[in-house]
Symmetry: C2
Subunit: 338 residues, 2 copies
Amino acid sequence: MARSSTRPTSRDVAHAAGVSQAAVSLVLGDKWRGRVSETTAERVRQAARDLGYRPNLAARNLRLGRTRTVLLVVPALTTEFFAGVYTGAARVAAAHGFGVVLYPSPEGIGPARDPFASAQAALDGVIASSMAADALTDIRGDQLPLVMLDSDPAGSLGAATVNLDIADGVRQVAEHLLNLGHRRVLHLAADVPSWTFEVRARELAARMAAVPGTEVRTARAPISIDGARTATEAALTAAGPRPTAIVCDDDKLAAGAYKALRRLGLRIPDDISVTGLDDLALATAIDPELTTVRLDAELFGERGMRALLAVLEGRRPESGDIPVQLVVRGSTAPPRTP
Amino acid sequence: MARSSTRPTSRDVAHAAGVSQAAVSLVLGDKWRGRVSETTAERVRQAARDLGYRPNLAARNLRLGRTRTVLLVVPALTTEFFAGVYTGAARVAAAHGFGVVLYPSPEGIGPARDPFASAQAALDGVIASSMAADALTDIRGDQLPLVMLDSDPAGSLGAATVNLDIADGVRQVAEHLLNLGHRRVLHLAADVPSWTFEVRARELAARMAAVPGTEVRTARAPISIDGARTATEAALTAAGPRPTAIVCDDDKLAAGAYKALRRLGLRIPDDISVTGLDDLALATAIDPELTTVRLDAELFGERGMRALLAVLEGRRPESGDIPVQLVVRGSTAPPRTP
DNA sequence: GCCTCCAAGTGTTACGTATAACTTCCTTCC
DNA sequence: GGAAGGAAGTTATACGTAACACTTGGAGGC
């Protein structure tokens, strides 16, 4: 009988089934067709079940030289957006026998900022959000296959990129506001150095500038409700004509803008329109519901994982941005008076 | 020179430094004092740096028979609550040389529901939220050290438990509402079979029953804004006197209740009071700001990890529930008329 | 001058798995 | 009846690391 104190190994299973360890490996690895008889295979499977055998992953990983595990580096877990990205990536990964380990780029996790130290797991590759760029120096150190999410295709050091078509989303927002008649816009920008936010600023400016008489002012805020509230209040109490619409870099900032507007006694959308970007649950929790751009987070994660699998298999990753769509709700309306 | 195509091993480092592989292991493992001279040690470290050596974790894990990696099983990533739990757990883990791998119990991730298959990594232990109970059968299969978060201390099969003092939080909510004069309460309950929600129902009922003339009705809803809205609308349009307060099992449900009340033309808190539980960012994003119970998610995670470390080292985990605190905001007021 | 002891290493092994290479036995075919 | 070939396994090995047991050369003690 096997030693009960320690986990059973494939050798224990072999002994119990009266075969060699190699046979166990063949059977459980599903490579036994034509090499082991059906009856023996069943005997092995039964023994494995009886002993509660689980293969030692460390040994398997060492032997195979790969782990079928990838790391997903995200900026934070505070919104369901990256939860969606994980879900999509994990679904594709599972279909290919891969696992996904999550590394939330830390804010205050402490000294071990190294994702590899933190995740301990041996990895085959990495998918990283550009917003978590601070964690990436370590990653480029190892030369693990890398896929960047929402990152500048030109400046990614040759890593494959998968992008949402944020530029088009901002374009849709701008057209929507212009069509409603807005000309003076406040851009509530995320105070985070990341390509995905630079794109918003650039595209909004370009689109508005195409129409004469428009004006875009910019306020910067950290991505938090309170930070956005403060920045919005400051921007709206400053000198000059009040903007008729606020374009926010994401929904969380928009929620902060809502709070500022309530404090200032301004009504949405009567006095001022507000738009977001993400379409989180938050967008329909606030009143009025937020006009925003829906991002398909799960598809984003799926595409990221598929791109990484392509890199791992030496194929070229699928190209083309992921489409996004404006969702018009109650927070936008024509400006009151021209 | 080392083969450039494949990752350098400790043997490559040894060769470069002109020492044996054993010496490299001693130096880099920080066990060289009195065994290797300072100059040799420095030479080894330099060689390791030059080659960009990273130890092969699979080999180390196999050799040591442990991975210094634990799995954190959470029900979902859709709120910042479990992000906080992760942050706390990861902080403590890092201080002890451990890594934390996240397994969000899937809703629709697909066939590989097995956390071990999904996380691939070899694990030393598991911390699991009771809300993710569906994933736990596999976990009990292996006899990995296990710590349960927010789980019935009596029914946890001997696993260590770490709990928030939810009962006390509900008690505080009930006292607050009773003091304001509320007697007819609707309990908007999460339609999830979990101890942490059972506690809420039990404690609320007990506390209200202590005062004569009180009445607690219950509505069940899935934990989503829309589900909560629907359930609340149904409950409030049913026959019988309208409740003067709604006690929600968490903040997300409260946000749904807000939407239902807006649709029904009822004002908060004038017509009806609402309370939540969690104190998410959402709680201050909605209008009026939500009276709720603040849970210290990070401390929860820290305590969970410390308990698991205790189990791994054969010590007894710290006992005692984690205190929580009522935060009174604008969503509660005395009922209009008695 | 010989024994002891310590510093500074090296040789070797085991962890558990997957698989290439080999063996053995039985059937089939000419 | 002997060779060929396939079915059903087994034997042996390597993956990269950590650590135990051993070696060597010199310093120190009496």
